[in-house]
């Protein structure tokens, strides 16, 4: 059966375009505007038709729209820009090329999608999280300090002391969780500040490792820093890097059985610092590896070893790495050995972190909140 296409009369098309709340600008092959709907006219302050697109480009100097329009037409694909503000509005702009079957490119359509309201909602969500984080931590500190006072000043039975220590530990964990949530909220809203400062990465890593020695000793593990560099100068965000290294080394310690080994190495590769954290731990199941950096995901064997993990650590670490221009990846298992029973015994994971020696600064409202994960 032949398909028939009913062509809408022009006045109907114009009415539809006029009633759209998103701005629509239609341009011809010479990149001249042939029709802008009222929403577009009101957003841009430009007339309905008869001007070159360059007038429109000038409204968004940061976007390099001329190249984007060229690319959309050349590659015949829709191009979307990042969020951009104009007057009191926020927009996402998409450029759709119009390709005629016989005549080739006949121009295209620019859509100004008004995301102001979404942006406001997002902002109030972020503000709420910040406020809640601050307000929540005051009574939480009250709980912790009072429990500490109780533990110190009162005569208690051994089990009474244990209960109080559990209260203190839980309050500390909640405090850390709140800071993690705050960092997530800042990262996801895109308004986190990245403030690079000069650091010696060798000294920085050494100090971090010595902070984690107690934890590894408690587990009867060897935590070793393998390093051949005297110094490695970098300019990066201290709190973000501290979090990444701390989270990954801690995981290595947490998920390595007693008597095992965690090795931390650092090298310079061109203009990047390259960290390696190798453990003899439980490894990451193959089928779960793709999810390991997802928010709230916990590997099944990890959840069996440590029941109180949040599933936020690696997610934030990978986001934090992105913030300073770096990346994290891993290999697991390190070793596959034949066991005496004839099966395979797999062990260990190695995490790799690569960060540029000079991170780009990013303007924002607040920076990465320093997080010192708590020990029980």
């Amino acid at each position: 059966m032949a398909e028939t296409t009913k062509i809408l009369p022009q006045d109907v098309i114009t009415t539809i375009l006029s009633s759209l709340t998103d701005g629509v600008i239609i341009f011809d092959a010479k990149k001249k505007v042939i029709l802008a709907n009222p929403a577009a006219m009101s957003f841009t302050g430009l007339p309905r038709e008869g001007y070159g697109l360059s007038k429109f480009y000038k409204l968004f100097p940061a976007l390099d729209l001329e190249n984007k329009v060229g690319e959309a037409i050349k590659k015949d694909k829709v191009i979307r820009t990042e969020e951009i503000s104009l007057a009191n509005f926020f927009f996402e702009i998409s450029i759709t090329p119009a390709l005629h079957e016989q005549r080739g490119s006949i121009g295209g359509i620019i859509i100004l999608h008004d995301v102001t309201r979404l942006k406001e909602l997002d902002r109030s969500k972020t503000e709420f999280v910040s406020l809640a984080s601050h307000q929540l931590r005051t009574p939480l500190t009250g709980i912790r300090w009072t429990a500490e006072l109780f533990l110190e000043k009162e005569k208690l039975t051994e089990s009474g002391k244990k209960y109080l220590r559990d209260i203190i530990y839980s309050a500390s964990r909640l405090n850390t969780l709140i800071k993690l949530m705050l960092n997530i909220s800042r990262i996801e809203s895109g308004r986190i500040m990245v403030a690079p400062e000069d650091l010696d990465l060798v000294k920085f890593t050494k100090e971090l490792i010595s902070r984690l020695q107690t934890l590894s000793e408690k587990k009867d593990l060897k935590l070793i820093f393998t390093n051949h560099l005297k110094k490695l100068a970098a300019t990066t965000d201290r709190n973000a890097l501290d979090y990444i290294l701390q989270d990954i080394i801690r995981n290595a310690i947490e998920y390595t059985p007693q008597g095992g080994k965690v090795e931390v190495g650092i090298e310079k590769k061109n203009n990047a610092a390259f960290f390696m954290i190798r453990d003899t731990g439980i490894g990451i199941p193959k089928q779960e590896q793709v999810h390991i950096f997802e928010k709230f995901f916990r590997a099944s064997n990890a959840a069996a070893v440590k029941t109180d993990g949040s599933g936020l650590g690696l997610y934030i670490a990978s986001q934090a790495a992105g913030l300073i221009g770096g990346k994290i990846w891993f290999k697991s298992p390190n070793l596959v050995k034949k066991t005496t029973a004839g099966g395979d015994a797999e062990s260990g994971s190695t995490f790799y972190i690569e960060i540029p020696l000079v991170a780009k600064a990013q303007k924002g409202e607040k920076g990465f909140v320093p997080v010192y994960l708590q020990d029980k």
Partner: protein, 131 residues
């Protein structure tokens, strides 16, 4: 020997009470103010040896209190330790820039550590070469 006098400016009653109890038990003469304005007045009138200053306070923000304390000739030499909650880098930097001697992120420390910091502060004060 006269006791070392410390003014605690903290609006949360529970935190203030814990700090007060611990400082008192450690042998300090602790005084309490629950908002920025009365904290400022108390420091001016009592001339303590140290101020523990919260930042988010009713009536006057801790930073304003700090600024004014450092402006008045009568109070500018009194050391101030800022007690923050979030420990944001920019808050800490601002506190130090305005003349605070130290900062403590309340929620990150057991109260015992805070008292130790205060004791350590005076140990350093009495042996300036250790500074």
């Amino acid at each position: 020997m006269e006791k070392i006098k410390i003014v605690i400016v903290e609006d949360d009653e529970v935190l203030a009470k814990v700090l007060y109890t611990e400082l008192f038990d450690a042998g300090f003469d602790a005084l309490q103010a629950f908002d920025g304005e009365s904290g400022l007045e108390m420091v001016k009138s009592k001339h303590p040896d140290l101020v523990l200053l919260d930042l988010v306070l009713p009536k006057k923000h801790g930073f304003e209190v700090l600024e004014e304390l450092k402006k008045f000739p009568g109070t500018k030499a009194i050391p101030v330790i800022v007690l923050t909650m979030l420990g944001e880098d920019d808050d800490i930097k601002k506190g130090l820039r305005l003349g605070a001697d130290d900062y403590i992120v309340k929620s990150d420390h057991p109260v015992g550590e805070i008292i130790e910091k205060v004791q350590h502060f005076f140990a350093k004060e009495s042996h300036p070469q250790a500074k």
